[in-house]
Amino acid sequence: MHSFGYRANALLTFAVTILALICAIASFSDTLSTPTPTSNVQVLNINRFQKKPDGDDEVSLTFNISANLQSLFTWNTKQVFVFLAAEYETPKNSLNQVSLWDGIIPSKEHADFWIHTTNKYRFIDQGSNLRGRNFNLTLHWHVMPKTGKMFADKIVMTGYRLPQAYR
């Protein structure tokens, strides 16, 4: 510690190491909270249900998503990325997941929301298997921290069904 440069270097290195440590502890503190999110989706209308010229089915839906994700936010949360996926089984694939809508929730105040919308992304099947198909709508989310590990989880909502015939 005999010179200015030596002391400045030692201080800077130590300060950054301690900073990394408190960020790690801050990230760990996220595991101490137990979130209790809720969500509900109503399918209001099937706008279109056709077989495309290339042979794949396509659906256009209007739905109302309402959710309360406020308990996911901690002091270490930057934003929550949320998306709604339709999940169903076909003879060809044991699991199909099609993302219909997504959004970014920037803060806790915005996390108790509802949205009335058509599907943001196209609901297209690999094949022609959607007539009369039962499907689940699953709300997935990724909690993006300010520092540390990202956590992802979901809520599965069952009981949705597509019509037997095209319209």
Partner: protein, 93 residues
Amino acid sequence: MDWQGQKLAEQLMQIILVAFAVVAFFTGYVLGSFQMMLLIYAGGVVLTTLITVPNWPFFNRHPLKWLDPSVAEKHPKPQAAAATTSKKKGSKK
């Protein structure tokens, strides 16, 4: 800075930084503000820099006793041997 001063500077640096880190973390946690934690810690780093990095007088309270110049003259450095070696190795001093 003398030896005691260097040790003091190192100890002060470590203690103040850790103390500020602890205060910053708990303040941020209780207030629910990550930004507050970083601001308090940054303030702590600046304060520590001001206290420990410059060569303050209180770091020099036990100064080294260098040999007095009048006493040093009575014991001259060996010059003759140094002169012959320096001719052979011209660039090295």
